[in-house]
């Protein structure tokens, strides 16, 4: 039973009601039955209150997870890592259009991180006619809290990709959904943390290497792009600006333009201002030579922080950096915004990435 299933919601709500009922029914029973053991009530009653709070909190988390679709497995929901699978590909889903999503494990030689990832293979990928054709690649990054599950399930990315490719608005593309952390409770901001996880290296070196080994893809920077929402949007822009030879374009949906520092991130840079600055797109725009990248920045109009970051970014951007901005009405910083931005962002991305090409 998946944590975002209706069955899981029914179960936790029933459990919460059961605990509440038990508390109501048995609160006084021990004292009534045996007055000599009233002291037991001082243990049982706080325990009952604690259970009520835990069950209510658990129900809230499961309901919120179903609504927002952050995690698809129980270990991730309780803050554990995504786990790894055996080497090779395992098919996760297959659509009627012929596209499929496969899972694989990236054993990062450069980052020393081993994490799961998923890849969307477009319709026709396995056809004989497509053999020898190398496709462009799009790396998709999620927000925090989040996991590839958000893209694959909640935001229904495979279905929207199918539509855009079938309509000719997007070139057939291999779309990769990597994990960005070893723990669902840890926000890495996709950076190489000082003394911590080398997530930047994992995403920009190890994932491309694994993808190039497993799939028929182009490996030149002109055909690779990054796309993310919320924290993933910051990740996309930051990683593209840090590795302009590796990527041609990046799209940020409601992304922040400076890295967060909060209890979920911890101290990523340990006071190293230089590394912190180099992971700050606004600082880079102001202080470093601009790179020939294409950047897409979109947000809901009432997502004030994101809109303000877009304004700051645009005010500082100079050629050859190319910026496209977009906005939608009252969606806030929510899945509704990212759902509405997907198709335009995919189409925009494909108009900047080099086309599928025969292997040379």
């Amino acid at each position: 039973m998946a944590p975002d299933s209706l069955a899981a919601v029914v179960l936790v709500v029933a459990l919460t009601a059961l605990v509440a009922t038990g508390t109501a029914l048995f609160w006084d029973s021990r004292a009534r039955i045996d007055g000599r053991h009233r002291w037991r009530a001082w243990i049982v009653r706080p325990l009952a209150i604690l259970l009520c709070l835990l069950s209510a909190g658990g129900a809230a988390i499961v309901i919120a997870n179903r609504e927002l679709g952050f995690f698809g497995t129980w270990p991730e929901l309780v803050g554990m890592g995504p786990g790894v699978a055996a080497s090779g590909l395992d098919t996760v889903t297959r659509s009627k259009t012929g596209s499929r999503v496969v899972g694989f494990t990236v054993a990062g030689a450069a980052s020393r991180l081993t994490l799961r990832a998923f890849a969307y293979l477009p319709p026709g990928y396995d056809d004989d006619a497509a053999q020898g054709v190398r496709l462009p690649v799009l790396e998709m990054l999620d927000g925090f809290p989040g996991s590839p599950h958000v893209w694959l399930s909640t935001l229904d990315a495979p279905h929207i990709l199918d539509n855009e490719i079938a309509s000719g608005r997007m070139a057939p593309t291999v779309v990769v959904f990597p994990y960005q952390s070893t723990s669902g409770a840890r926000d890495t901001e996709c950076v190489d943390a000082v003394g911590g996880l080398a997530v930047d290296t994992f995403l920009t070196t190890d994932v491309p290497a694994a993808v190039a080994t497993l799939f028929s893809v182009r490996t030149d920077g002109a055909s690779w792009g990054l796309l993310g929402y919320s924290t993933g949007g910051y990740c996309a822009v930051n990683l593209a600006m840090r590795h302009p030879g590796r990527y041609a374009a990046a799209a940020s949906l409601s992304g922040n333009m400076t890295p967060y520092t909060d209890p979920a991130t911890g101290d990523l840079f340990h006071g190293d201002t230089n590394i912190a600055n180099l992971n700050n797109p606004l600082w880079r725009l102001k202080n470093l030579k601009p790179e020939p990248l294409a950047i897409y920045l979109g947000a809901g109009l009432n997502d004030h922080d994101s809109i303000q970051d877009i304004q700051r970014f645009v005010a500082l951007a100079r050629p050859p950096l190319r910026v496209t901005t977009a906005a939608i009405a009252a969606t806030g910083h929510t899945m509704a915004a990212w759902r509405a931005f997907q198709a335009p962002a995919y189409d925009w991305m494909s108009s900047w990435l080099a086309r599928p090409a025969p292997a040379t």
Partner: protein, 294 residues
């Protein structure tokens, strides 16, 4: 009351506290046939507590800034952008020039340019059959740059006979003869966007192929419009090399695509100066970048 207002949060918090206190006071009276009220009261208190925490999280994170963000139906999936073809003023004329349906493509001299001191100011344009057969397609563009005096023997094309060069090109090819000097490059930079609009081809991610001694001119053209050009290649001025170079240039460009779906451009209003996160060492930023719709 705004969804992220302190008043709402305080009201929710006070209501939760009142409910818990009320339950505590009423607890001993809720026995026997009133036990179901006890259960309901516990569940109500739990719900209020969770809602208060959710409001606090939403206020801190700004996820749903307004009630409408929480309750309104999802916005339209996307608004279809106007096809480049629909706004291309030259398209009807070009269609009229290919009564056979454009199965052979079309080579023509673009009539919109003109430079008094240039002996060959008009770009020659190649449009592949797809331009006529699928009018909605947005074609990628490669610009071939040769010195104004180049001949077929020096790697350029032979008059209007560019067919051998473009047989395998999968997009629009613009052949441009450039004289030496900044004026020539400036002229080309101004002309090419007009040409793109009037013909109805892609307005970005173009490639340049510079032939022989036009390499420097090609680089200048590339640098003059880095928002338009994304790839540059040079090829020796020898017959036979150009066709291969054009094909390679297209391999590095996006494919021909249908018009994208778009969302409106974000409103970019002036902002107060952005506080610098660290001491700066670079030149001051003087010019904001042009922005555009997706």
């Amino acid at each position: 009351m705004e969804l992220t207002s302190f008043r709402l949060l305080a009201t929710a918090g006070a209501t939760t506290v009142a409910a818990v206190v009320g339950l505590a006071f009423a607890w001993r009276h809720l026995t026997r046939y009133l036990l179901p009220v006890r259960v309901a009261a516990i569940l109500i208190c739990e719900t209020l507590l969770v809602l208060t925490i959710a409001l606090a999280i939403n206020r801190a994170g700004g996820f749903y800034p307004t009630w409408s963000a929480l309750t309104a139906p999802p916005p339209p999936f996307a608004v279809a952008g106007p096809a480049a073809a629909a706004t291309a003023s030259l398209r009807p004329q070009l269609q009229a020039m290919v009564p056979d349906g454009g199965h052979q493509g079309l080579i023509f001299r673009w009539p919109g340019a003109g430079q008094p001191h240039d002996p060959d100011p008009q770009p020659t344009v190649w449009l592949p059959p797809a331009y006529f057969q699928q009018p909605d397609l947005i074609l990628p563009v490669a610009v071939v740059v040769v010195p104004s005096a180049a001949t077929a023997a020096s790697g350029a094309w032979n008059g209007n006979d560019v067919a051998p060069l473009v047989a395998a090109a999968s997009g629009c090819v613009i052949f441009l003869r450039l004289g030496h000097g900044a004026d020539s490059v400036r002229f080309a930079s101004a002309v090419l966007p007009q040409l793109a609009r009037s013909v109805g081809v892609a307005d970005h991610a173009w490639g340049i192929v510079a032939v022989g001694s036009a390499t420097d001119l090609g680089r200048s053209l590339f640098s003059a419009d880095t928002l338009r050009f994304t790839s540059f290649a040079s090829v020796a001025a020898r017959p036979g090399l150009l066709a291969t170079a054009v094909v390679r240039a297209f391999a590095g460009l996006p494919p021909a695509l249908s018009p994208p779906v778009t969302q409106p451009p974000a409103p970019i209003s002036p902002l107060p100066p952005v506080p610098s996160p660290a001491p700066t060492r670079a030149d001051p930023v003087t010019a904001p970048l042009a922005t555009g719709a997706a």
